[in-house]
Symmetry: C2
Subunit: 154 residues, 2 copies
DNA sequence: TGAGTTATGTAATAATATAACATTTCTTGG
DNA sequence: CCAAGAAATGTTATATTATTACATAACTCA
């Protein structure tokens, strides 16, 4: 799974970054928040709310609001994104810098890659400016096949 | 509502176009399908599945599968789009030509404008090509304020 | 006409998400 | 330290969105 890549490292790094960001902003990175973020990062795809709920384990009383509130917190603080086309959640890959980001979702391996290239953001800005539309939030999700999953599919 | 624009005309035109398209493709544009498409076009915003269900009226037995199947048919044939960020459905403005289209959603008046500009499509193609990602379907939904709803908001 | 196909009806339930209120835990000024 | 307020979590109930599975009806066309 995931080639030779030692994924535990990603998880650890994401948690450390999140912890640091919360410290800097005076937010509480509680056990529950840490646990949910860990679960989300524990695969390269996206996590569904009710799967998180099932896997919380430990001391956490698993009821939907527990998870949805935690997801809200993580989203508000830019640590997690919701993928609307999947009703699922992914960890944010660059929780500090990005403004507009978008997602490449591989329908074969289910990995979700977050992209923050400026070219797309520029094109979006141009387009909305042309229509005199003032954007607040952009959902850009592209489903298809990643490089690795195109082999043998022509 | 909707300024001086006589909206019944939009609805009628959309229905006529849909009917023609179905004829050309050997598809059955049944009473139910016509009715659902009418309801969807009866406002400029988007329609929710369960609201359609409530408003079917007439002879239609209103159970969820009735509506979802009809929405599936309309989507498959490019007559309707789902707006994932709203869990809602809009009529397609150009059911014949478009490939990649995207949506400007005004959070003040709830109108949804469908755009099919090539500039965005080009930017998307460039971006995915650069990552060697083969796109099958793109969700691009921009929520914000339309021209008319920016007055007085600075 | 009637056999096969397509569309719709119906019942049950799955999957996703929120509201409202209770309790616990943390923080911080005194 | 300690109590009061704030923030987080627990709990119950329910709302919203969507699908599965099977039955019936309506169309099509040989």
């Amino acid at each position: 799974m995931y080639g030779s890549h030692e994924h535990a490292h990603c998880v650890e790094e994401a948690i450390n970054t999140a912890s640091r960001i919360c410290d800097e902003r005076g937010l509480r990175f509680t056990g529950l928040r840490r646990r949910v973020l860990e679960l989300i990062w524990e695969n390269h795809g996206s996590a569904k709310a009710y799967d998180l709920l099932e896997n919380l384990g430990g001391d956490y009383s698993a009821k939907p609001p527990t998870v949805y509130r935690t997801l809200d917190f993580l989203q508000e603080n830019g640590l997690v994104h919701k993928i609307n086309s999947l009703n699922a959640y992914v960890g944010c890959s660059h929780p500090l810098q990005h403004k507009d980001c978008f997602f490449l979702i591989c329908s074969a391996c289910n990995e979700v890659e977050e992209c923050c290239g400026t070219a797309m953001a520029d094109a979006l800005r141009d387009m909305t400016a042309k229509q005199d539309f003032k954007p607040d939030h952009t959902t850009l999700e592209i489903e298809g096949r990643c490089h690795d999953c195109q082999a043998g599919v022509q």
